[in-house]
Amino acid sequence: MRYLPLTDADRSAMLEKIGAPDIDALFSDVPEEARLDGPIRGLPMHASEMAVEKHMRRLSKKNLAASDAAFFLGAGAYKHHVPASVDHIIQRGEFLTAYTPYQPEIAQGTLQMLFEFQSQVAHLYGCAVANASMYDGSTACWEAVAMASRIARGKKRKVVLSGALHPHYAEVMKTMAKFTDDEIAHAKPAMQASPDTDGLISRIDDNTSCVVVQYPDILGRVNDLQPIADAAHEKGALLIVVNTEPVALGAIKSPGEMGADIVVGEGQSIGVGLQFGGPYLGLFAVRDPKHVRMMPGRLCGETQDAEGKRGYVLTLSTREQHIRREKATSNICTNSGLCALAFSVHMTLLGEKGLRSLAMENHRLACIAADKLAEVPGVSVLNDAFFNEFTIRLGTDARAVVRKLAKQNVLAGVSLGRLYPQHDELSDGLIVAVTETSTEEDIETLVSALKEVLS
């Protein structure tokens, strides 16, 4: 077997050194009746690299790759061009095959990268401090809610979710809250041109620990968050802002600038790729440094070595499970290190200038698409304002339309029926995302295919 270096001669010599007659003697603590006497029956035996690759390639061909379609899906995961050098760097063995930097003297590569990553995320979000990443946006969102609960010392139990929070994120909140006694107040999104800020504010009360708002929201709408921040703060609640499209923050104000206390999000857009939903990259930041010690997850900090040279270590670990055990701020152990590296490399290639250009190119194409789609008979654009994603109404079940178009290699968007199956009144909605990877030709393809299906 190509991954196992021991030879039979090695094995014999080693058993002799150990003083064991055979390999089974090393498994003598396994109760005999539970010991398997040979390879598990019914499973295939080992296979060559060539054979395995062929099998996996056959499975991969059963999927329609985004690049082989006119592609307009978003709703929490976005297709962006990832520069070739990103994948090269994350495949360097020193990054790929390292582990959590428990021995900082031989992990300065990972640690300095994490320090740079935390700084990039903090700048992007308009915050003071970001952590070294979480599993993904949805779990980061729950960790933020749990953190707000800790800050409220369990005295405030109500979590107000915006109706326009990604429904899968809302589901994660509801699932977790069942076990923590938090009360989740959630509504479906109102199908109107701008988010219902007044309605949201009216749900904040003295028992509210936090308000969770997505920006841009699930329908692609963007609005000023300052009034929500002010209303939350007036009631002693924290404002948690969720961002699922970090590229947007190259064009629109950061959540930190508008008073968000905790900003979390999905970082997949920058460097990571689609990957059918994972692994992704949870981003987590706080605006006020006073909240740092309440944060979940790993934090990398600057320090000095014994010769006074600058270096980096994991720090403030007294918050964490390996020290605090059942009193930890989170049970998180592993983060999403390699995805953080991909994000950081891509962000360094972009820089502020590139990020702004990328964001405006997304917005330019999205505006073109919105205008052209609005001309299709039966189609109306919902949004007043948007970044690279907006919602259109088709006057008919959007799920059926999406399925029909997929047969022509047009992946038209995410239907609201897929996300809100229990709300028939949303079923004619379609969320369309347009990034720099969508060409004007792709937009034409979508428009004409939609015209044909709707006529």
Binding site: I18, L411, Q422
Partner: protein, 541 residues
């Protein structure tokens, strides 16, 4: 392996004359291949970019008046500068590709590159999680095929694939237990956890709303069955047991423990972090386990990546399977693999599972770590049922070889408790008074190794947990044993130079107290001397 090269130097020849090695200081602070690297914030600026994108034209704007007019402050570098920056950083890292990495409980085995190649096939890497199901049948088949392997290898009933890492899997398992108890109207409050457990176990159980109580160990380090039995009762929701344990021992009594816990109406959670030791040799399902997470980044070789991403599917017993989180995949009699989400969960359960499925909900936005599933399945198919069994045997053989080759110079507190499984545990007993496990670990760095896990498990003083894995050759182990014997001798003799190790790493010992006392967690532009124009006023570099 140890043949002298032309200069007469051979690997393993101790460097005797330190003064001969030490040269003059350099102007740059570099030392030949050991290169210092500034932060991107110090070498880049906000006007530089390494991508070619159209300049914004100032055309249509529907941003609702929310344009980001303030400076963002993220520096950019050209592509060559970027590649060089990260390549230079990478060289300050230790990885499995570079050498032996016996970090106990982490299973740092070789990461086959076929796995990387497969994960990057466009049909896997370039697929959106919300594409119409008919366009992702292959992805669902991968999930389902891996699920079947995991079920067969563990002898369990079902598997939840969506948890994103081991600790997330633990949470999934505990939430299944809680949901199952609640479904029968049974509000139990206590979870029993051995002191030797990984810190995530009690943290997870607490997060799931349980009170934690310790399970005592007997003199050979295993769970004390009688003490456990006497604590069981109507308030105990279950136990969390690591098998093989964090002491590197197989819990001989696990079946009896499971029977007793079930008898008392509780459930058995098994931490599967150490599954590598027993894959293909024994199935947790045959020992009465109700839930166990599997770290795909350990047993099934998906890369650790400097701290993730991991992946933590949870195999479940028949009693817990109905409560598994959404979404899940299921193959029906017609051979089609379905994706079951909130939308059709009830109807699907009714049609195919007699209505028993009552998921506790969703744990993450999408379907789990697809990129890890493709890698793990590739690895599993490469090894097959026979190869995986050999994996466990070689991992256990390597660990016992290390244990028995070192127990005369290092205290092995449970060396008398029978063979170890995949990892060998030592303590600092016998070290000179002022020498610690940390000192020994740092000296191993100088010898060119990644140290073992230190100070874990907490129940052993100055613990050193060595997990070699099956992908190391006998020659590598022999060289490591020689190095560790030498360092252990120095620790017993009280060699003061251990206390200042490492001497040859990119950094000397780092001050963790300073880092925690005055946290600097993000880069801040240094305040310039009065009267100096700032970087932004100068328009960048």
């Amino acid at each position: 392996m140890n043949a002298p090269n032309a200069s007469g130097w051979k690997p393993g020849t101790p460097v005797q004359d330190h003064n001969a090695m030490a040269g003059p200081d350099t102007v740059t602070g570099n030392r030949a291949l050991m290169l210092e690297e500034p932060l991107i914030f110090e070498i880049g600026n906000t006007e530089t970019t390494g991508v070619d994108l159209p300049e914004p034209t100032g055309g249509a704007n529907r941003l609702g008046g929310l344009d980001r007019s303030e400076k963002i402050g993220i520096p950019g570098l050209s592509e060559p500068e970027t590649v060089r920056h990260y390549t230079r950083l990478s060289r300050q890292n230790y990885g499995i590709d570079l050498g032996f990495f016996p970090l106990g409980s982490c299973t740092m085995k070789h990461n086959p590159r076929l796995n990387e190649k497969v994960a990057r096939m466009p049909g896997f890497a370039d697929v959106h999680p919300l594409q119409p199901v008919d366009t992702v049948r292959g992805a669902l088949e991968v999930i389902n095929e891996l699920a079947f392997w995991l079920i067969d290898l563990t002898g369990m009933h079902g598997v939840a694939m969506s948890p994103k890492a081991g600790a997330h899997g633990e949470l999934c398992g505990m939430l299944c237990i809680r949901a199952a108890l609640e479904a029968r109207g049974d509000a139990r409050k206590v979870v029993l956890v051995p002191e030797s457990a990984h810190g995530t176990n009690p943290a997870t159980a607490a997060f799931a709303g349980y009170e934690i109580e310790d399970i005592p160990a007997n003199s050979d380090g295993r769970v004390d069955l009688d003490a456990l039995k006497s604590r069981l009762g109507p308030d105990v929701a279950g136990v969390m047991i690591t098998n093989p344990s964090t002491l590197g021992l197989f819990e001989r009594d696990l079946k009896a423990i499971s029977d007793a816990v079930h008898e008392a109406g509780g459930f058995v959670y098994c931490d599967g972090a150490n599954f590598n030791a027993i894959v293909g040799k024994v199935r947790p399902g045959d020992l009465g386990v109700d839930a166990m997470h599997i770290n795909l980044h350990k047993t099934f070789s998906t890369p650790h990546g400097g701290g993730g991403p991991g992946s933590g599917p949870v195999v479940l017993s028949e009693a817990l399977s109905p409560f598994a989180p959404l979404p899940y995949t299921a193959r029906t009699k017609d051979g089609v693999v379905h994706l079951v989400e909130e939308e059709d969960a009830d109807a699907f359960s009714e049609e195919h599972f007699g209505g028993v499925m009552q998921s506790f909900g969703r744990m993450t936005a999408f379907h789990g770590q697809m990129g890890m599933f493709t890698r793990a399945l590739t690895y599993i198919l490469s090894h097959g049922a026979d190869g995986l069994r050999q994996v466990a045997e070689d991992a256990v053989l390597n660990a016992n070889y290390i244990l028995r080759s070192l127990e005369d110079v290092l205290d092995a507190p449970f060396g008398h408790s029978g063979p170890c499984m995949h990892e060998a545990l030592f303590s600092d007993k016998g070290f000179a008074e002022d020498i610690s496990t940390l000192d020994l670990a740092k000296a191993l760095i100088d010898e060119g190794y990644h140290p073992m896990t230190m100070y874990f498990p907490l129940v052993v003083h100055g613990a050193m947990l060595v997990e070699p894995t099956e992908t190391e050759s006998k020659a590598t182990l022999d060289q490591f044993i020689t190095a560790l014997r030498s360092v252990a001798d120095r620790a017993r003799a009280g060699d003061e130079s251990l206390k200042t190790a490492p001497h040859y790493a990119p950094r000397r010992r780092l001050d963790e107290t300073l880092a925690a006392r005055k946290p600097i967690l993000a880069w801040e532009e240094p305040s310039p001397p009065a009267g100096t124009p700032t970087m932004s006023e100068q328009g960048g570099r």
